[in-house]
């Protein structure tokens, strides 16, 4: 029922807004919140509690408690008391079996349940283990908050905006506004954030007002994320003024959670902002002047107020609320019952210091006023108004403890924790507030301790007989206000790297997969083996733009590379290529690739597809240590690259170059690097043989990617993907660093003892190689062929005489070899060519034999052709 016009009401009575609630039509006015509209139309039960399914109604009406959580337009856990009304909204109660007024699970409140005592989940439902999934399902259904609608995505979008402020003021009360205005006279860049509805669109000269919006926390570097609905503002502020005020604290007494027990501010809001008569008969239990004033406001609103108690001057011994069907019917004060349908009760105000504590302020207890106040603010922070403790005090919130047969006294309404639960936790030995917090979950619910921290600390102090200062507070952590995860995640962009030829692969119907940071074709058709055959028998082309490509240039380029690699490069002639491996000083194989010398002082280095960034950083870092006169330039993205491979490669290439003699056998030998114009595109052509056939890697400016690709395909080259490439390289027993090697592998165990040039003064990893050489060999990487046509999984166990003896790192079926082939780590004494061992495949063991050298074209005649 609405009152006559109130002087500062927020509603516009000329604008009806309709929405649906629990399947029925509901309505209110523009300016209402969903909660105020529902309250005005007579709704009193707003939710069912977390554990006991007790009916709960508006408590704070300010967005601080868990009592009005509902699902709005599929978004769960919306505080409807502060959610602006909007036409057509679909509002549903949550955590209810049945209806808000008749919840079948309320029985747990009467008889208790398996999960009613504190810490139940640490003690029960542990055995039998196989029941865990069932327990979880049951508990999730019974307890907890709203459910995420998996089909509907709630908010249509979330955005993040990066902002800067000279002065950021959090809290738009009197002191916050005054501070903002004062700061604005000294220049621009002043922003004020307030969570209430009142300041919406407010104009403060020179101040940018964000309201309703919530500062979620304060991080290092003056980072303050502000939740403004669909947008998260990430503020970096030079100075932060915290004026978050103080919050009314609930009194703890039997029945203190009944529907109709409210905090004074909430009652005031219903009357002032929304012109609602909150009840017909109210009892007011005040601990400060603000609360006393509410008694007058109630009377003015036509509510009978038979009893007002100022707890500062007339401390009551016992307070109890009696209810019918979960709603307040009487307040029993020192044994005398007063009939009422509203109990306005507070223990006074406690400063909202959390943001300051997150920023590093110390918090101390003031026994005379019964509050915790922030002390010693870090540089760049200022606290103003009630948050400093100004005008704040509380009476002991705990009343009437030891009630034997009364109703439950709730310390924490979010998690349904009673005084009994806390007593029990203390009795069980959880005598530190941080431990007890985790055990009882007090302060861990949706209010984040706003309404329960003080009461629980004071209850602790009283029960354990120590001072509140000794009990102390729990660590203040963000977020201070609830926030949707989607907002923290921001827009869903996961940038993928795509080669400049990428869309040709999509157009050709390739199966695209992630390969490190890249999107790459797995294969173009259903049968990767067809693509393998094309390379062996005629001509294939693969997009290898993802290879890392680094130019190393300068008078000391040779010296730098010779110290980074175990290899020698000084003896290379310009125009030649060498295979190189990078190791760490611990001897671990980090990456491999080719090094082409383009000029005396210029090298072109390729790395693996996932290694480009790490190898560039590695080179740069070492050169920051050593200071050689050489530049390291990552040209990975600047260049596209394709590998044209197959017996027809030379013939196809010769048709695309100006002078076919340039690619003739003698003019362009295996491991030559050469600049060539191919189909009008200047290329660096590298003649190498990763896939085992005659092949040319063409590296050229990225923007020409599609053009050159199209021309090669037009010459009859079959596109092949990553999977066929894996088969082809395995046929050559070429390793993939990171798949066939791991952090234990070194050059010697990986069968590359020929590579490190130990006579060099120094290279990264030299010391480790020397030590490894002296040590007894533990395992070795070798090739094998399977005796049966089964493909073991990568990682499959090698079995030697019935015991685990190694592992498989790669295995594929090769048509060309006519067998299943692979690479495996074996004990050194089992590595003779032809030695038999077994591999576990699908719960049985299958025989395999060691095979040295390449499986295909062992002499290398084909790739050198």
């Amino acid at each position: 029922m609405r009152l006559g016009p109130q002087p500062r009401e927020l509603i516009d009575r000329s604008q009806r807004v309709l929405f649906t609630f629990d399947g029925r039509a509901a309505g209110g006015y523009t300016g209402d919140t969903i909660g105020s509209a529902l309250y005005a139309s007579g709704q009193r039960v707003f939710s069912r509690s977390f554990k006991y399914h007790r009916p709960r109604g508006l408590l704070c009406c300010s967005g601080h408690c868990p009592n009005c959580l509902m699902t709005v337009d599929s978004v769960p856990n919306v505080r409807v008391c502060v959610e602006p009304i909007r036409a057509g909204a679909v509002v549903e109660p949550q955590n209810v079996w049945g209806s808000l007024d008749r919840d079948a699970l309320a029985v747990t409140d009467k008889i208790g349940g398996p999960f009613t005592p504190v810490g139940f989940y640490y003690r029960t439902m542990i055995r039998p283990r196989f029941m865990w999934p069932l327990y979880e399902k049951v508990l999730r259904n019974l307890a907890g908050l709203g459910k995420v609608d998996e089909r509907h995505h709630g908010h249509s979008r979330y955005d993040v905006e990066h902002r800067r402020a000279r002065v950021l003021v959090v809290g738009g009360g009197q002191s916050g506004r005054a501070a903002a205005l004062a700061a604005a006279t000294r220049g621009p860049g002043v922003v004020l954030v307030d969570e209430g509805m009142r300041l919406r669109g407010a104009e403060l000269e020179g101040v940018e007002v964000l309201a309703p919006a919530r500062a979620l926390g304060i991080w290092e570097g003056g980072l303050v994320p502000v939740d403004a609905g669909g947008v998260l503002y990430r503020f970096r502020a030079e100075r932060i003024v915290v004026a978050t005020g103080a919050l009314e604290q609930p009194l703890v007494f039997p029945g203190n959670d009944l529907v109709g027990v409210m905090l004074p501010d909430g009652v005031r809001r219903l009357i002032r902002d929304f012109a609602i008569r909150p009840a017909s008969r109210a009892v007011v239990l005040a601990s400060d002047d603000d609360a006393l004033e509410v008694a007058d406001e109630l009377r003015e609103a036509g509510v009978a107020v038979p009893r007002v108690v100022d707890l500062r001057t007339a401390p009551l011994g016992r307070i109890e609320a009696k209810g019918r069907r979960g709603r307040v019917s009487a307040a029993v004060l020192d044994g005398r019952a007063v009939e009422c349908d509203l109990v306005v009760a507070s223990a006074g105000r406690q400063p909202s210091y959390s943001l300051l504590a997150q920023a590093g302020a110390r918090v101390e207890y003031e026994p005379s006023r019964g509050i915790f106040v922030p002390a010693e603010l870090p540089a760049g922070f200022e606290a103003l108004g009630a948050v400093t403790g100004e005008g704040c005090a509380t009476v002991h919130p705990l009343r009437s403890s030891g009630a034997r047969n009364g109703d439950k006294s709730f310390v924490c309404v979010c998690e349904d924790v009673t005084t009994k639960d806390v007593d029990r936790a203390i009795a069980e030995g959880f005598d530190s507030i941080e431990l007890s917090k985790r055990y009882t979950t007090v302060t861990m619910g949706p209010c984040q301790g706003k309404l329960c921290q003080l009461a629980s600390i004071r209850l602790y102090a009283r029960t354990t007989g120590v001072s509140e200062a000794t009990v102390g507070t729990t660590t203040a952590r963000p977020p201070w206000a609830p926030v949707e995860l989607g907002l923290l995640a921001g827009p869903h962009h996961e940038p993928a790297r795509r080669s400049s030829i990428h869309f040709r692969h999509e157009e050709a119907g390739a199966t695209i997969q992630w390969a490190g940071p890249w999107k790459r074709p797995y294969a173009y058709g259903e049968h990767p083996e067809d693509e393998v055959r094309a390379v062996h028998e005629s001509l294939g082309v693969i997009d290898v733009s993802t290879l890392g490509k680094i130019l190393v240039e300068g008078p000391q380029a040779v010296e730098l590379l010779e110290r980074l690699y175990p290899n020698r490069f000084g003896d290379m002639k310009p125009g030649r290529i060498r295979y190189g491996v990078i190791t760490s000083d611990g001897g671990r194989i980090m990456d491999d690739g080719t090094i082409a010398r383009l000029a005396d002082d210029l090298f072109y280095v390729t790395t693996t597809s996932t290694g480009a960034d790490a190898v560039t950083a590695w080179f740069e870092w070492w050169n920051a240590v050593w200071g050689y006169d050489a530049e390291i330039v990552n040209v990975t993205g600047a260049l596209a690259a394709v590998n044209l491979a197959g017996p027809r490669a030379r013939e196809a290439l010769s048709r695309l170059v100006d002078d076919p003699d340039d690619v003739a056998g003698d003019a362009f030998r295996y491991l030559d690097a050469k600049e060539l114009d191919v189909a009008g595109v200047p290329c660096l052509a590298l003649r190498i043989g990763f896939v085992g056939e005659l092949g040319y890697e063409l590296h050229f400016a990225s923007p020409a990617g599609e053009h050159l690709w199209d021309r090669l395909v037009a010459e009859g080259a079959w596109p092949f993907g990553l999977e066929p490439q894996r088969v082809l390289r395995l046929e050559k027993a070429h390793i993939i660093v990171g798949q066939d090697t791991d952090s234990e592998s070194n050059l010697l165990s990986a069968g590359m003892s020929w590579l490190p040039k130990l006579e060099k003064d120094d290279f990264v990893g030299k010391l480790a190689v020397e030590h490894v050489a002296r040590r007894e060999e533990v395992e070795r990487l070798v090739g094998f062929t399977m005796e049966e046509d089964v493909v073991p999984a990568e990682g499959a166990q090698v079995v030697i005489e019935g015991r685990p003896g190694g592992r498989v790192t790669s295995a594929r079926r090769s048509e060309a070899v006519g067998a299943v082939i692979g690479l495996a780590w074996l004990p050194p004494e089992r590595c003779e060519d032809g030695t038999r061992f077994e591999i576990r495949v699908d719960r049985r063991t299958v025989g395999a034999r060691v095979r040295h050298g390449a499986f295909y074209d062992a002499s290398g005649a084909r790739m050198r052709a």
């Binding site: 570097g221 760490s584 000083d585 740069e620 870092w621 030590h771």
Partner: protein, 89 residues
């Protein structure tokens, strides 16, 4: 971690723009060190609760490498400097 780290070239920037390469270590010089010394160098770090010299790269910015002295307890950066490379042998 959201502290601002000053880059010698770009000024203060959020720490997530940088790559940290960890404590400055000393590589055993000269003839072959003992396995113990090598292992210490490769795997062991002081990991102090206090001021530590570290390698940083402004990965998302100018790309340059530099050294910073940072208090690991407070993330306060006491100084930054450009590397002074050891002369090549």
């Amino acid at each position: 971690m959201s502290f601002l780290l000053p880059c010698p070239h770009c000024g203060p920037r959020p720490v997530d723009e940088y790559a940290c390469f960890g404590e400055v270590t000393t590589r055993p010089a000269g003839e072959s060190p003992s396995l113990r010394d090598l292992t210490e160098y490769v795997y062991f770090r002081d990991n102090v609760a206090g001021v530590q010299r570290e390698w940083w790269q402004h990965r998302d910015g100018c790309g340059e490498w530099f050294l910073a002295e940072r208090d690991t307890r407070t993330n306060e950066v006491l100084s930054i400097s450009e590397p002074e490379p050891a002369p090549p042998v």
